[in-house]
């Protein structure tokens, strides 16, 4: 099934290395994200790989409403990534804080801290939705 490639990701040339940051999520999205790289959904066959360092990454996936304590580390992670870099907000909380909107420890959605290039809706989003978003970046 072909996907519509994101123009901003054209420079990546079919290779996407992902660094994940949990900015205050309930870990529901992490379970689905883990499934996206499991043998069932296997994002690796689309040229997507998880890496251990933001220095190695092209794409930052962020989950959860950004909490006050995680706003700084999230910004630092983004700044540690080499250009060109893209950010994917995974889940409803990352898009608009979801059910945690207005909480005393919540700083705001991901877009208030780092520029977001792609959003994956859902609470939590299905692994297939995450894989198809990542495929729009790898173009494969």
């Amino acid at each position: 099934m072909p996907v519509e490639p994101l123009p901003a990701a054209a420079g990546l040339g079919g290779s996407v290395q992902v660094r994940h940051v949990d900015a205050g999520s309930c870990n529901g999205c992490e379970i689905e994200l883990g499934q996206a790289f499991s043998p069932v959904y296997d994002a690796e066959r689309h040229g997507v790989r998880l890496v251990a360092s933001p220095r190695h990454a092209d794409v930052l996936t962020v989950t959860g409403p950004v909490t006050v304590n995680m706003a700084g580390p999230l910004r630092k992670t983004y700044e540690a990534m080499p250009e060109p870099r893209l950010v994917v907000a995974v889940g409803d909380c990352a898009r608009d804080c979801g059910m945690f909107a207005g909480g005393y420890g919540v700083h705001g959605p991901v877009a208030t801290v780092v520029p977001v290039d792609l959003q994956v809706p859902g609470c939590p989003p299905e692994p297939a939705a995450i894989v198809s978003a990542l495929r729009r970046l790898s173009g494969r």
Partner: protein, 314 residues
């Protein structure tokens, strides 16, 4: 440019071009055995191409060791890939390609990367560097000893001479000493190339990293050089293992036909060894770090037994 140099350059280009494909092949075999489709064979080349286009970032506290290490690592890998007897034993540098030179060059690359890991000033970089040096100190003697077992028979530590002797007198390859030495060198190769059970190249858990921990701070072009050179080191070591113990097919002249045949046989041997490596890694778990010295001491004893056996039986 003489025929010998053309062969040597072709050999270096072949090793450099095949190394990422070998990594892709081991990943593909692994993925199939795990019940996944996995990435394409050329995916490591795509990754390298993209990283070469990205900007390299230098951490604020890093100095010249950090910036120099990728070039040093790549240079040593290219030099060994040019000089070692992979296609023909009659290379332009064959008089100087001593076993000790090759092991020394590989160690120079290891040491450069370990210094770079320390140079970043991060906790994980220093931890990876100290672990890498611990492992290197145990691996290098085994690398030397296991090949000494072969050189006692030939009377030379020159790799070309050892391989040429193996090609001309194939019956002498199949000895107990060779079997012991091959086992020792295989374990040393796994450790030196940072594969399971000594190091897990696919890990994301910083506390279990060895090689990965040292390169956490590299990005863009520098990262591409480090990953490419690491893939070349795996190819170099597997190629040495193949050509020292299964020297069939290696050309003893510079005739284009026999060199081309040697290239095909070399790729076949790499494919088989890479496949075996991937199959082994699916079924192996990483050893606890404190048990790695036991494994490496065991491989050293195998190497020592190989030397004694070849000296006694010779």
């Amino acid at each position: 440019m003489s025929a010998a140099w053309i062969m040597a350059v072709a050999q270096a280009v072949l090793v450099a071009a095949v190394a990422p494909l070998l990594v892709g092949f081991t990943r593909a075999v692994r993925a199939r055995l795990e019940g996944r489709a996995g990435g394409r064979l050329v995916q490591p080349w795509r990754d390298l191409g993209k990283q070469l286009r990205k900007e390299p970032l230098i951490p604020a506290d890093a100095g010249m060791f950090f910036t120099a290490a990728p070039a040093v690592l790549m240079a040593t890998s290219v030099l060994v890939a040019t000089a070692a007897p992979y296609l023909s034993t009659r290379g332009p540098l064959s008089a100087g390609v001593d076993l000790i030179v090759v092991v020394g060059l590989l160690l120079l690359g290891t040491a450069a990367l370990a210094l770079a890991g320390l140079d970043t000033g991060t906790a994980f970089g220093g931890m990876g560097a100290s672990r890498e040096m611990t492992i290197a100190a145990l691996v290098e003697p085994t690398l030397l000893l296991s090949v000494f077992a072969l050189s006692t028979r030939v009377g030379s530590t020159n790799l070309g001479a050892i391989v040429a002797a193996g090609v001309s007198d194939q019956a002498r390859i199949l000895t107990p000493a060779s079997a012991l030495a091959a086992a020792a060198l295989a374990i040393a190769t796994l450790a030196e190339a940072g594969r399971l059970p000594v190091d897990n190249p696919a890990t994301h858990l910083e506390l279990t990293m060895v090689h990965e921990a040292m390169v956490l701070e590299y990005s863009g072009r520098d990262l591409a050089l480090v990953e490419w050179a690491s893939a070349m080191r795996l190819t170099i070591l597997l190629g040495l293992l193949a050509n020292l113990f299964v020297p069939w097919g290696v050309a003893t002249s510079l005739h284009p036909g026999s060199v081309a045949l040697a290239a095909v046989v070399f790729l076949g041997k790499l494919g088989v060894l890479g496949g075996l490596l991937a199959v082994g890694e699916v079924f192996a778990a990483k050893l606890r770090l404190f048990r790695v010295p036991e494994l490496l001491a065991g491989s050293f004893v195998l190497g020592l037994l190989a030397v004694i056996t070849s000296a006694v039986l010779a």
